[in-house]
Subunit: 263 residues, 2 copies
């Protein structure tokens, strides 16, 4: 058990973030005393992984927790908060896009604990390098969250709600939209009977090369080269998929515009 005023943890949520967070906290020595999930099935699946009790009834919330993590999809957060009562216990949400104030009627001790990563229930990630963005309603609570966060990550930052919203938006571009580029690439390849494996080394290198360079410095390809002939060929290949064509056009125009601004 790490040295911390926080020992017992209740996790409200059993999705991708909750699963990875619960596992990291267990590994760090904390006691997860209860998992709440929307269904017994989802709650039990996570509870089994971290040797915890579980419930799917918010009225049965264990009141012995030192901290309550509310880690549910953003669209469910408001409803869940209305239904729970944690007294004056420390309560945090894990949402990038939600301001800290959403918690102000839930307790006099509250904060945000936002791990910036894309999580899956089925893949356990090492939290060590995952940035954890913290915000709290008091110095004392920020201190508590900081000491907690540092047990699982070496990348802990104080981030206010406005900054966190920007980080979340940047994450949508860096992760979700990027992943959708992979979806489109796969579909194009499949149409020509080429396995998606072909572009995997390229995808990995694209992510690795920005480790030490600014992304606009490492841009390559027809848009960057103002190669209108190749761009025209590509648009022609997308003629039967207007939406991909639109996406191609818009991003290409934006790369060209950027290029002209930074040259």
């Amino acid at each position: 058990m790490p040295e911390s005023e926080i020992k017992k943890i209740v996790i409200i949520g059993a999705g991708n973030v909750a699963t990875n967070l619960a596992q990291a906290l267990t590994k760090a020595g904390f006691d997860i005393i209860q998992i709440y999930g929307r269904t017994d099935h989802s709650a039990k699946a996570l509870a089994d992984k971290v040797k915890s009790s579980y419930t799917s009834n918010l009225n049965d919330l264990n009141m012995e927790g030192d901290i309550y993590f509310v880690s549910v999809v953003d669209s469910a957060l408001k409803d869940i908060l209305k239904k729970i009562n944690v007294g004056d216990k420390l309560i945090v949400h894990t949402s990038g896009s939600t301001p800290i104030d959403i918690l102000k009627n839930s307790s006099s001790n509250y904060g945000v604990f936002y791990p910036l990563q894309t999580f899956s229930k089925h893949k356990k990630l090492d939290f060590k390098n995952i940035p954890v963005c913290l915000e709290a309603n008091s110095d004392r609570n920020l201190k508590l969250l900081t000491s907690l966060a540092k047990t699982i990550s070496k990348n802990v930052k104080n981030i206010n709600s406005e900054q966190r919203a920007a980080i979340h938006l940047a994450a949508v571009f860096s992760c979700n939209f990027t992943n959708h580029m992979f979806v489109i690439a796969e579909e194009i390849l499949n149409k020509y009977n080429i396995p998606f494996d072909m572009v995997k080394p390229l995808i990995l290198e694209t992510a690795k090369r920005i480790a030490d360079e600014k992304p606009h410095k490492v841009q390559t390809g027809p848009a960057k080269r103002d190669d209108h002939e190749t761009i025209a060929k590509h648009l022609n290949m997308l003629v039967n998929d207007k939406e991909y064509m639109e996406i191609y056009k818009l991003i290409t125009e934006n790369i060209i515009k950027h290029k002209n601004q930074t040259e």
Copy 2:
């Protein structure tokens, strides 16, 4: 020197692809006898790296080569080919988007040697895992290219011109457009004084997680969850940048459409 009928290599081009290719071939034991570059400066820079002669005059092309790689930007390819005469020597281009036929008047022995990767002059990549897409005008030439390619990569494929064009288009989505998502992310973060470093672990994980999973299976984020409240918040944050807003809208709509098709 590897066992191969090809021993002496001339490389026409001194850019990103030419640089990485020349270095990989040198490492495999081939003799790069000449580099042509648009300027003496660019030609010499690469020639020095691979202990080769160089020229910036196409009339001075060394005729002793067993193979001639034309590795120039797509838009310059046609012009360069008009200006060179390699007799009946084997000549290949390295372009993803250009059909093999562009070479048919350049020699009776020709082909394509397309390494599928994003290259930089300044970063030497290990060719071992880079897919090399080959096409040739005869079985004999394909055999020659295959044995050459296998000395630098363990991922050598026969790919026709139509497939290669599709691969190149998929590469633009997977690499150039993905990289542009990073450019946008960085700009958003900078506006809020947050270092781009924050999203680097996320970017790396996004690339890694598709190693064993189809990209649409690992999609996360507000579009995937049909979280219209968060999407509206994001669009609101982009209100002063219409182009980013358009890109956000278009990709988000496409993720939602895909989701509904595959669910």
